[in-house]
Symmetry: C2
């Protein structure tokens, strides 16, 4: 492993359920000598990506706050999707949350959200949360349109988890995704969080799926059938975003 990759790997240790690490723990987790672990941490602290928190503990640093703001201001996809999402939210009577997700590492992450009325807007799948590629409507809305080669690789790498979630074979798994592809959207019930229904559809750039838009609601607020009845609205929304993305790509190319 290169020195650079190692230092970036340090950051990847920090997770929602493990947000403070000592230098020793980092060294042990990554198989580094104490000296090297300290060197990596020092660099990250200097750049603001790590921050000393307690006696010997380090947490994620303030640099992320700064960079996240830049991302928020820059990201073309979010900027394009934002008004479309707001409109879609109105269409569903503000009784849920509209999310925008994209691939991130081996997961699908929510990168933008537009929340409805507070009473219905609580969601576990909020901005910054990453889900495994096989869990939830948003993940499936991306998975179903992945090129076969990538899909097969992802399947093989996660076969046990996938079997546990339903499909018992590659054929069955593939058939499930083919059905999603046929209808144009993915609908799941209580997959990400109990009592929540998700409806999602893909966003393309040059015929490649780059993201998806989803609607998340509580099942007591909206029945599965009602959610599904909004599929045409969602499909219209994702088509609008895809078109705008294509238009912009064209403009940049000139």
């Amino acid at each position: 492993m290169t020195a650079t990759a190692r230092t970036l790997a340090v950051l990847q240790l920090f997770e929602a359920d493990r947000q403070v690490w000592t230098v020793d723990e980092i060294g042990r987790a990554l198989g580094l000598s104490s000296s090297t672990a300290y060197r990596s941490v020092r660099e990250l602290v200097k750049a603001g990506f790590l921050d000393p928190v307690s006696r010997a503990g380090y947490g994620l640093g303030p640099a992320f706050i700064r960079y996240e703001r830049l991302v928020r201001q820059t990201d073309r996809l979010s900027l394009i999707a934002s008004p479309v999402m707001a409109e879609l939210l109105e269409t569903v009577g503000r009784r849920g949350t509209i999310i925008l997700c994209r691939r991130f590492r081996e997961c699908v992450m929510c990168v933008h959200e537009v929340r409805g009325d507070p009473a219905h807007a609580e969601t576990t799948y909020e901005r910054g949360v990453a889900m495994p590629m096989f869990v939830g409507a948003s993940s499936k809305a991306i998975l179903a349109w992945l090129p076969d080669r990538l899909l097969k690789a992802a399947y093989l790498a996660n076969e046990p988890a996938i079997r546990a979630s339903g499909p018992v074979s590659w054929a069955e798994f593939k058939a499930q995704l083919r059905e999603i592809k046929r209808t144009g959207f993915a609908l799941t019930d209580s997959e990400v969080a109990k009592g929540r229904i998700g409806l999602a559809a893909p966003i393309f750039r040059n015929d490649q799926v780059i993201a998806c838009m989803g609607l998340v609601v509580t099942s007591s607020v909206m029945s599965r059938a009602t959610v599904q009845s909004h599929a045409p609205d969602l499909l219209k929304a994702v088509r609008a975003v895809s078109q705008q993305v294509a238009r912009e790509a064209l403009a940049i190319a000139r």
Copy 2:
């Protein structure tokens, strides 16, 4: 420069007014060969810190969204200050924004904000924005309590900028800060943005200034005198936060 520092330096090129870089530009800016620039960029893309945006351009990546959420959930200072800030906001009739700032590199950065009523809450000094150490009440509220050694170093490194902003000598500069220290708060008018008044006071841990809390309002909404009349409320707030911070540090030490 080490390979790791260089890779982190790539990220530091990305600024509000320059959010897309080509690999060649990065290489030129950092004095790297094309190969090396590509290697650095590739590592950063793999980790999600950079993201290809246009034909040959790269922008900040989705990893920052994820990490920012973790920081938001973790950061003890923000969690402690948040309710205090909300209370202070009510005290000033919600006619402005309460911000929490801390040092970041050679700047002071807003790491948390609680906004008042939309009509009065617009602010340029929002979460994630970094200001030079000499501009604005928040910066001064931290600067004034820095140890003399750090202060002198900061002064020497920024003498021209400081002179342009008022104080013509170290003595005068020092006197200005001494006055802030005496009253316990900093008050500035149209320093960060025209027509905006800032009031800020320091937060300590073990007698070291670690952050500050500030009130930002539009001068047409609240006169300078009115803002200043809220200084006791602010001082009460920062004292509460400092105490809570100390209590927690003690708890961790056991």
